[in-house]
């Protein structure tokens, strides 16, 4: 009986998740009439706009990751070490991007940082890119913060910090040599999630008028038949690759010592 339910669940899941995916993949391979081919993929990869927007998004993702790590790791560390009472507040703040739609965030940005504001970020190309990176960081914040916080929970940061201090280490050394290396795996999984989010993000990039991969996907989707499916399969591939890398990194990392208490 339980078995039957499990199979029923699996079938329903397949119908709404795997079948469309298979259909899409099949369609992306059917550009040439009567036989399967990678023509749609070749067409996509040959498009200079694909390369430009994809590179743009990858670079933005890398900047977002660096900015996010520099923002989140010290914050999470300090909150755990010195201000544990603030943890619920910080957790709540980091959850906000999940409940506030990206469109609201970007309208807020445009309103606050437009050319006639006190900080006219949208007035220059670099400013807009900085704004976009901040927006991406914001969207990735719930994932990045949780990943890092979980990593910090696994080690006794209080005692490790004190041990390093008693050995003469200052804050930079403690952070760079003791804390960061020990949460590296968590930071990496946060980074891969950030990467996946940034690559597929549409709203922020479109409304800030930036040549990112998300708006390009939409543009192609509106104008071509087979290429959008090929692009979607490629995006899926990238996301899954990120997930796989998280797994591999987590498995390769040295195990932390057994926790006391």
């Amino acid at each position: 009986m339980t078995r039957a339910f499990a199979w029923a669940g699996f079938l329903i899941g397949s119908m709404i998740f795997i079948l469309p995916l298979l259909g899409m993949t099949e369609f992306s391979l059917s550009m040439r009439r009567g036989e399967y081919s990678f023509d749609a993929y070749a067409s996509v990869l040959a498009d200079p706009q694909f390369r430009a927007t994809f590179t743009y998004s990858v670079v933005m993702a890398l900047f977002t990751i660096v900015f996010g790590v520099l923002l989140v790791v010290p914050t999470a560390y300090w909150v755990r070490l010195r201000m544990p009472g603030l943890r619920p507040v910080v957790e709540f703040i980091t959850l906000m991007p999940l409940v506030i739609p990206a469109i609201v965030i970007v309208f807020g940005y445009i309103r606050l940082y437009n050319t006639s504001s006190w900080l006219p970020l949208t007035g220059s190309d670099l400013g807009t890119k900085v704004l976009l990176m901040c927006g991406y960081t914001c969207l990735a914040l719930p994932y990045m913060y949780r990943a890092v916080d979980t990593g910090l929970r696994a080690i006794d940061i209080g005692t490790l910090t004190e041990a390093a201090q008693s050995l003469g280490a200052g804050w930079t050394t403690i952070f760079g040599r003791v804390i960061l290396p020990n949460v590296f795996v968590s930071v990496l999984s946060g980074a891969f999630l950030t990467f996946a989010i940034v690559i597929g993000e549409f709203t922020l990039a479109a409304l800030l008028n930036q040549p990112a991969f998300g708006p390009y996907l939409q543009l192609v989707g509106a104008n071509k038949a087979y290429e959008p499916s090929a692009l979607a399969v490629i995006s899926f591939g990238i996301t899954w690759l990120c997930m796989g890398l998280i797994q591999i990194v987590a498995r390769l990392a040295p195990k932390p010592p057994a926790q006391l208490h």
């Binding site: 201090q165 932390p256 057994a258």
Partner: protein, 352 residues
């Protein structure tokens, strides 16, 4: 007498309205091994953390090697510290852990390697330099933590319950090892523990703490045999308490459950005053030597192998004492009357 190496003067620590350490004073001689002993929450760890610099005293002064360090940061104090939770850096090998302090101090690679080797030899783990902490047992990890604390050649070593997380056998062997290393290096050491056996066995002096205050400071022999307060008497070792009434204060005669014993010293209390006498289990025996005796009945007998623990009832009081097992002498029988003998010199008159 040499100038004290560590001087803690009138130190007080409050967290909000709670005072956890009050007017704490201690002078530790160079090369001395001093233990802070007390139940949890007595302030012993707080004092240690103030010496290490992790907490700042609310009042008072801490001087190490003639230098006032009260407001110095922990990383400027040149102190080695070992924690209960080992606190080895999980991302570094044993060698890197031990070399960490030297690396931070900017020593050369060659000097670091040499010192790491020396330290590994000192803790008798010469082949484990390339292991990671998670590959070591608890005892090994704590030895590495000790080596790491000693590698930068600190002037003062602080041990915060370093043996509490280990199992009993390792605890005893590592305890002796720590004491041996401490003696060899002649390093001034402060050791925090709640385990009296640990404190008694390895310290030059013990500070018994209770309620944020030092109740008594003295050598283990003195602490055990001449406890200054009721708390010290009850916390260190097992103690039989006998409640009595003063009959003759000058001669030291006390009545316990209708039986009179004379201690032969001035009790300093008026006739009829209540008095509590204390007796260590090893000081009493059935029909043993001793000039004093109390009559009672055997209330309970536990056979523990090499030792037989007997509890005898004397009126409302209970006296326990241990007897070595002997195959030819059977243990006392419950309900049997007995004559408990002890010497007047072994009886402690507890202050309040």
């Amino acid at each position: 007498m040499a100038e004290p190496f560590l001087n803690i003067e009138h130190v007080r620590k409050s967290f909000g309205s709670t005072t956890v350490v009050q007017d704490f004073n201690l002078a530790v001689e160079p090369g001395e091994f001093v233990s802070f002993l007390g139940p949890s929450g007595c302030g012993k760890t707080t004092v240690l953390r103030m010496v290490a610099g992790f907490e700042e005293p609310s009042a008072g002064k801490i001087v190490i090697g003639g230098k006032d360090v009260t407001h110095l940061k922990p990383n400027q104090r040149n102190i080695g510290m070992v924690f209960q939770a080992y606190a080895l850096f999980p991302n570094m090998t044993v060698g890197q852990n031990i070399g960490f302090g030297l690396r931070v101090a900017g020593r050369s690679r060659a000097e670091m390697d040499k010192r790491v080797k020396e330290m590994l030899a000192l803790i008798r783990l010469p082949d484990l330099a390339d292991r990671y902490p998670y590959q070591l047992s608890g005892g090994q990890q704590q030895r590495v933590a000790l080596a790491r604390a000693l590698a930068p050649a600190p002037k003062l070593l602080l041990l915060d319950e370093p043996l509490s997380a280990l199992d009993a056998k390792v605890r005893v062997s590592l305890r002796d090892e720590i004491r041996q290393i401490q003696k060899d290096l002649g390093i001034t050491t402060v050791f925090v523990t709640h385990d009296q056996e640990e404190a008694l066995s390895i310290s030059d002096r013990i500070v018994v703490m209770y309620g944020g205050k030092a109740e008594q400071v003295g050598a283990p022999f003195e602490i055990y045999n001449r406890p200054a307060t009721r708390f010290v008497a009850s916390f260190v070792g097992t103690l039989n308490m006998l409640n009595g009434k003063v009959v003759d204060p000058k001669a030291g005669t006390v009545e316990i459950d209708g039986q009179k014993i004379t201690l032969g010293r001035d009790l300093g209390k008026p006739v009829g005053a209540a008095v509590t006498l204390a007796l260590r289990p090893e000081a009493a025996a059935i029909g043993g030597p001793g000039d004093l005796s109390l009559k009672g009945t055997v209330a309970d007998v536990s056979f523990l192998g090499s030792v037989i623990r007997v509890r005898a009832a004397v009126g409302a009081s209970r006296i326990s004492f241990d007897r070595f097992n002997s195959p030819t002498t059977p243990p006392p029988v419950v309900g049997e009357p007995c004559d408990i003998k002890f010497s007047a010199g072994d009886v402690l008159v507890l202050g309040d």
